[in-house]
Symmetry: C3
Subunit: 341 residues, 3 copies
Amino acid sequence: MKSLLAAITAASALMMTAHGAWAATRSFEMNIEDTRITLVDKQQFHTFAFNGQVPGPLYYVDEGDEVNVTVNNLTALPHTVHWHGMYQKGTWKNDGVPGVTQEAIKPGDSFKYKFIAEPSGTMWYHCHVNVNEHVALRGMWGPFIVRPKAPTALEKKVTKDFILMFSEWDSKWADKPGFGGLPSDKPDYFTINGKAYPDTQPIRVDKGDVVRLRLIGAGDTMHSFHLHGHSFKVAFKDGFPLSQPYMADTITFGPGERYDIIFEANNPGRWMVHDHVDSHTVNGDRPMGGIMSVVEYSGIPSDPWYDWAGKKYQPNFYYEESLKKGPGQHANENLKGQAIQ
Amino acid sequence: MKSLLAAITAASALMMTAHGAWAATRSFEMNIEDTRITLVDKQQFHTFAFNGQVPGPLYYVDEGDEVNVTVNNLTALPHTVHWHGMYQKGTWKNDGVPGVTQEAIKPGDSFKYKFIAEPSGTMWYHCHVNVNEHVALRGMWGPFIVRPKAPTALEKKVTKDFILMFSEWDSKWADKPGFGGLPSDKPDYFTINGKAYPDTQPIRVDKGDVVRLRLIGAGDTMHSFHLHGHSFKVAFKDGFPLSQPYMADTITFGPGERYDIIFEANNPGRWMVHDHVDSHTVNGDRPMGGIMSVVEYSGIPSDPWYDWAGKKYQPNFYYEESLKKGPGQHANENLKGQAIQ
Amino acid sequence: MKSLLAAITAASALMMTAHGAWAATRSFEMNIEDTRITLVDKQQFHTFAFNGQVPGPLYYVDEGDEVNVTVNNLTALPHTVHWHGMYQKGTWKNDGVPGVTQEAIKPGDSFKYKFIAEPSGTMWYHCHVNVNEHVALRGMWGPFIVRPKAPTALEKKVTKDFILMFSEWDSKWADKPGFGGLPSDKPDYFTINGKAYPDTQPIRVDKGDVVRLRLIGAGDTMHSFHLHGHSFKVAFKDGFPLSQPYMADTITFGPGERYDIIFEANNPGRWMVHDHVDSHTVNGDRPMGGIMSVVEYSGIPSDPWYDWAGKKYQPNFYYEESLKKGPGQHANENLKGQAIQ
């Protein structure tokens, strides 16, 4: 395994599209790197991380942009990158499926993906080689957000925007890259953005915010996301606006699916958010872990019995700061692991 | 463990709400009690049952009511009660999440929950301590129905109203309270309202009835509910009316989700209803059990080969009689277990 | 076990319905036969196959038709046939549930089912005895399509129509008919129409086609179907048209559910379709198998690295040719297994 930290380059240029609108060409580079991440406490996992982080860097582009990504495989196993949800109109050989649209990228090799960002919405990317191991156990996924040319009235009201990627892990494969992801596996760790409670971060809001949570099923199982103290509108499915957003307090979704839910922060307090699959709230055999977090309103004083009293807050755990920066490939220091030599 | 049967007190008083409407104050008391229930045949389970029954007593209140519930923990482990779906506007410390909204209720202690019943619809309550064991294995859940001020046209037509709570159990933890609910568990019993077929009860209807089934995912897995001989309208999600109810004969839902489905009883006969997850129709290693029941129309003669020929019918298994009684906390004798000394 | 291949007879006759329209009487015969099928490579499975094929023969009838099916049980175990989704108005004893609507059909016996085909849409049939084994492990299911009297505007545009039935298998029961389907099972093979990749078949389309995929959850688990390079409209649920079809690229469904999705073939290429439950893309412990296929546009040249370069194409694997034939009971040679003596 190599320990290179890739030099990331990103270039942009405006171009005239076929439809007469201006669109940008956005060029990025991304490495696949053997990386040790920590799920929670002392539980580590050997991943093949995109730019050394799990989830990978945020791609944030405008609808219609031309996207160029040079992917360098610095691991000892073959990989590809599939841009889940992208139409790839006229560019099907950039769809990232080994044996169908391309040959897998061999160790040490690179592949340049080039496609138009279409359609808009909450998309994601992931390896498409041996997905039962690489996606389910090796953290090979990240968010890909395409900003719409014509946002809906509802999303225009959003004041805070968060990305949550859900997955699970079977610790018996933590140190066995190239193995695992078998039907007999029983995942015992469950994470949002690669971390389990209490090592997740709060979702901080102010009263009056309109909050968007972009839920992405990045793993292998169903999740049932429940928000306390509020109902939400189910507003987007796989990036597409629903013509009739519906109200709920709990939403179940499967691998590959994305739901954008939007709620008004109108009820100050501390509110649990969690997976209602009960067994997804453990860390190994210890209860009260896994897929849990807290929506914290500003102005609510802490309490001595609060689990997170005195917790060091790390902004941008949910990419909320990156999403404010506009188009680009955005690294996320919170999600970085340690390079494996 | 204590064997007290709590004295249940309920008091009501009318009050003027902030919005000028009359609403009631409803005060209840509920114990958490070590209780042995029988899932089916000889399979028993040690639960921490609300008022000694699984599911717990029905709370039926009006939208806008002030609800007061004093919860007494008579078991040897800490608990709370979360009122799933309630907004808890201005009362977030009554949301029942240990370490986030309150300290867990210690053995022998009590906690008084106080909140406004909002929004309306099919809600539920459950413990929020160690949910992987207490919710998934110890029966700590019950129905909480908030009658709407402005019912929909569709629900006004309902003539029969039933509550079905779905869950599953791993028998190896039956007699080990304080343990279990691990990721490696494999549930082997599957129940509606705490009972498996053939020890469930028929859903009895008359031709012409408009039937509402309130489906509540109270356990740890997905369920796929199928009704024979009819299609139904999916009318409510998590208590909220869908603006466009849709037709189906099978509906999949996850933990924490509620769907209210409504159908016309226009087809006399005996009709199976069951979980279409095939493995949820066993009792341990014996087929033709688990989550199954029969919609029985009145006037249909029995047959000698009918599984339930001669079965002793217990009304109110689905709270259908309790729901007719109007607001209150309604005990359900069918669901009572045996106190554990 | 007997090795008879049944003589299939089908007769049709027009009749006047109660509503004054002409409808047909369609009479069929179907055997249940011990049959060895091959899921993929060398992995075989002992099934109780309808007319010796898995899935069973396609029933394609018109809404309002009278359907008569004589079912002959040539196996050593009891069975029934349930016509999932059929209202069975006035014919509840033809609903196929042992111990509720009929006595199970004993080995060597026959049962004649008679009912009106109502409602229209994508339905299916399956055994209702010991579903945890017979449905989950023994291939006792097939498609039942009722052509609507009043098709929707969207479905009228369809130019290619495919049926995909999803299921899973635990290989340890492959040669143990009468056993298996326990809660402790861990399926290790995952199939579309009884075959796993690479032994599935491509879905072949031409640019300009409007493609309908009828997804049927015939097994025991959730599936999350993802189509690359396109979005689709979710158009029908359990045969019923949605008043507001919604867009998606991935759809999760449970056992017993059917979704008809419709997409425009407007993007020539080779496009993966697969279950996004990662662990459903293995064959035993080997990756890159299970529930995967490829949408192949005509005119796209092969590549030497294409998994299916040189593959022998078998039309009608998805019943697309049978569906063109109009009403009848349509055998499918691709899906036939070997009789077990």
